[in-house]
Symmetry: D2
Subunit: 343 residues, 4 copies
């Protein structure tokens, strides 16, 4: 069985394992205060062209979303998100557990627009009983989104402008950042650092064993963030492990390279599916594909390959999800394409 159901199926890029082995018996202080973390922070500041940014390393995505959102909001505020947002659908109520409502906006493609944000803000503050409702306090987006789509530079610029005019910090979940950078090169890390108030560069799905790097371009926004990390259980005792991994990922263009490669592999699979006449539920150019397949094709494919079943459309058709990742081999893609051509 070849697995394509997610982008965290394997361990880590070999260069990361090597760095962990090499540094294993160094003695380092804990909790992210070691030299590896310092160097990784500097690399990230450089790539983001954000010289005074705070950079913090956390272990996983749900933890990062929860910690950032709880740190930014006041008790009476909620976070604006697409209905497809990971925080709304797949985090077991982690945001609500910190006391905050997710204010969900309808979306067709996983993205939200500046106009939607302006509207929910106006609807709230124009209400004569605003204080009976949850106040929008920040905006959460993901790039790429949960449906594989990405924001154009123009879309992101407009969203950022709306957020800043309205006083709503803009937070980008970058769990799959490398795949977004590859799918939409015009939106670079430095553009993101310029347009978002806080974002993270995902490691777990892009070659690390685990780890997400939170970037806060203006450090005045979240002055006590280390307390929040500790309080939410996200401060790794051996913080060096995060530093070492991001030192490797962020050096010599490795992170971007891993992203590009996975996106190219996905492109080959997409072309094969399209050639066979299959449609797609979402127009994703990143590492996730959402083809619509009849039952027979799904069953045939399922005998050799694993994928996720996303949504049944009728008795026959269903949307599945196929993911590539930094670890996807040419051979695996070749075998999948060969199979697709026979569907």
């Amino acid at each position: 069985m070849l697995r394509f159901e997610s982008d965290y199926l394997e361990g880590a890029h070999p260069a990361i394992l090597e760095a962990l082995v090499d540094s294993n018996f160094e003695q380092a202080p804990g909790y992210g205060t070691d030299p590896h973390c310092e160097r990784a922070r500097d690399l990230i500041r450089g790539l983001c062209e954000a010289p005074v940014a705070q950079v913090h390393f956390l272990v996983g995505g749900t933890q990062t979303n929860q910690t950032v959102i709880a740190a930014l909001l006041r008790p009476h505020q909620g976070v604006v998100s697409a209905t497809s947002g990971h925080i709304y659908t797949n985090e077991s109520g982690a945001i609500e557990a910190t006391g905050h409502k997710v204010l969900a906006l309808p979306t067709e493609d996983g993205k939200i627009t500046a106009e939607q944000v302006r509207k929910i803000h106006a609807d709230h503050f124009d209400s004569p009983i605003a204080e009976h409702k949850v106040q929008p306090g920040m905006v959460y987006i993901s790039h790429p989104s949960e449906t594989g789509t990405t924001y154009s530079l123009e879309e992101l610029t407009e969203l950022s402008r709306a957020c800043r005019e309205l006083g709503l910090p803009l937070f980008m979940d970058g769990a799959r950042m490398a795949y977004g950078l590859a799918a939409r090169p015009e939106v670079s890390l430095s553009q993101i650092a310029r347009l978002c108030d806080v974002f993270y560069i995902g490691g777990t799905k892009v070659g690390a064993l685990f780890g997400e790097a939170v970037v806060i371009p203006n450090p005045a926004l979240m002055p006590d963030f280390r307390y929040h990390i500790k309080q939410r259980g996200g401060m790794l005792a051996k913080g060096r492990l995060l530093g070492i991994q991001f030192e490797v990922l962020m050096a010599d263009g490795l992170y971007e390279r891993l992203g590009r490669r996975a996106v190219e592999q996905a492109g080959r699979i997409r072309a094969a599916l399209a050639e066979q006449g299959f449609g797609f539920r979402y127009d994703s150019l990143s590492n996730q594909l959402f083809p619509i397949l009849p039952k027979a094709a799904r069953e045939s494919l399922g005998r050799e390959f694993s994928f996720s079943l996303l949504q049944r459309l009728d008795d026959d058709l269903a949307v599945i999800r196929i993911c590539t990742s930094w670890a996807t081999t040419d051979e695996a893609v070749d075998r999948l394409i060969a199979h697709i051509k026979q569907l």
Copy 2:
């Protein structure tokens, strides 16, 4: 500089790194559902002689304490702990962040007694206005405690009996479990599984990169625990990493061996300190030592070795903490002892 200030200074035991490298390109489902986790669970059930126990893997200690306590308590209940308990002093309010008060009991040596638990329970339920106060809902202990002491089998048996009579689940924080097993062999994992309602076997401080294994001997106690792990941000996407590490640690007596070795090294250092006439703040037989040193001795030691300053007693004397760990070498201990002999 040789470091003795904590027991998480190095990476992982080489056998763990090797297992991570060997398994790196296996494709495995996420979130703890992979075969490595299954095997590690079985090993732990075996060592604990708890055949139906639920075993869950989390990343770190604060996260584990927070998740277990929030899962066990009802909103109006608090957790009973020693004033020295990690949850009371060093977790940035992680327990309160889930809505619960820590009901702290005074302690001289880091341990609490069955009698104290009976008293706080009676004081609460005998009050005519009990509902105006926080109801004791469970008991938290650590073994070894934050001051290096351990519960005797008799003490633990009495505490367990009190807790069960009073309907208070007993939770043991085992972040340093291996060192407790070595310092107090009569209290074995199977005794702990018999006497505690939930406990964890710490990996972070005993040879793992990270990881804590929560054991729930009676699975009916916490039926939906996986939801709680996910909600608190503790469910590692690549859960295999936890499974692989505990497979190594729990096999062939490695975990106990690592504990014994660190405790022997601590014993050698303790003997050297005692021989020089230094007293100890806490009577610890585990891997942490709390000698009382005059300023001159601290300064001399500090030129070559790192340690933690715990408490100033007067202008001259202070308590320091010296830790050994699974990674402490004979050479490091020899050098430290040689230095101590010249103080």
Copy 3:
């Protein structure tokens, strides 16, 4: 200006004020432990034919919803509600502030069905990644609903059956209970006590200065509820004030009478509006009316009467809300009807 915008515009029924004056210098113990509360509890148990029910008095509706829901749910659970539910739209995130998500079901008329509850339950528990989502833990309904509709006995029976089969406590918000009893007499308090697991009888909107009586027919469901009331700030020091008010309301059929009268007044207004050819947004037979009026009619009406603007349908038409209450006089209704006839 005659006001029809809500049902809490006046003080209290004169008999309640009289009872407060008469009892004013009695000395009574606090927090709901006084004889008035005891008598009021007995009256309620009698009316509900629920002889062992726990009865608790709280001050207001949001507080009651928050306290009941937080007391019933476990941290990983959410409360199922209609999208129009008060807890979803108008309580400033009070439920989320206790850590719980509101799982909103679409509704046209403010009610949810047994089938919807079965579906959301099945969707959750059939998911292979259920623990990544919020578990449905209870069901919240309001009767009458926020749109004035009421559950038929059959609908409520089916909903109750579904909830019990699925292990989901059914909670009825009865802030306007008297108006529901009048609009739908087949659903009596004793039927409600038989079919719901917890509900409240609203006083604030039906003749009391304030106060909601929570009824828990099976006291084993929520054994420590007084702690929850205190913790959420809902335990009134002079609890007697709640007892005294419910003693008056629950005696001699006053509560039902007040409800019937307001519903009759609403019926007269509804008939006048219908006669003039106005449509209604919701098919309410209780004390709230939701007529659709053109701009000119709204402006004309607004010169003499206050009402709430609920929703603009187009440039001309909008839905308004007109409420009657226990305090609405014949004269006020006559004047309103006279005005309507000239629209």
Copy 4:
């Protein structure tokens, strides 16, 4: 049985009941937006010489403490309080339920000092691992304290200065404010408004049916406080009831008069107890007395009068609490004194 066990045994001052009756059929908008509330706010601003102060009315003390504290703190912060503080001992974990730890300072007399506040602040921020601990975020005091003592103007001035230098908002719980004003006239409402950042003027224990008036001298400190009130369940639908009561209490010196009278009554009882040779546990000059009585005296007294048993000192002696209030009559005090003289 004459009751002296608390200061909320009776209903309300007759002038309040009269005002409620007189205004009963006025129609008023809800939630504190009515003219009575506006007038009461103006009266309070005048008495406090705080012309731009925000004034909000809540129903009870625990609710007020919870709402103010949760509104002021950030998630990683705790509230500093005396160990005798109501929020630490008698609110069922209401503060922790909002996610915050109460950082308790030892006290002999129910008060905390500027020096203690400076020390806890320094201890925290001087710690090399501050982010592993709860950050002090504000200071809570009560005046009079739970043990009847009051802050001198000098003590309060020093505390205020320390808080402002350290950036810690100072919050005064004034549940018994009138009795404090009477016991310590130098500390007037305008002094309190100058020295505290937020405080409340208690109505429940001083002649109102219920109600606490929160005063925020600098409105910029808590700009969205109405949201917090609503979210915590404290926004009374018929807010007018609070406005009407405070209109009466705050006019013509009634509030101060009620306080003075109760304190005089307490003074007479204190003198009688002292004359009989009984000692006092706390040196209270306000409306609460804490005499130390032998068993025989307690039993004799208990046959005619109710009081609270606070603390057993040995087999014979115990501390009791005797309260007077706005409603305590001369006759009741005469009877109590006559009995005391025969002890």
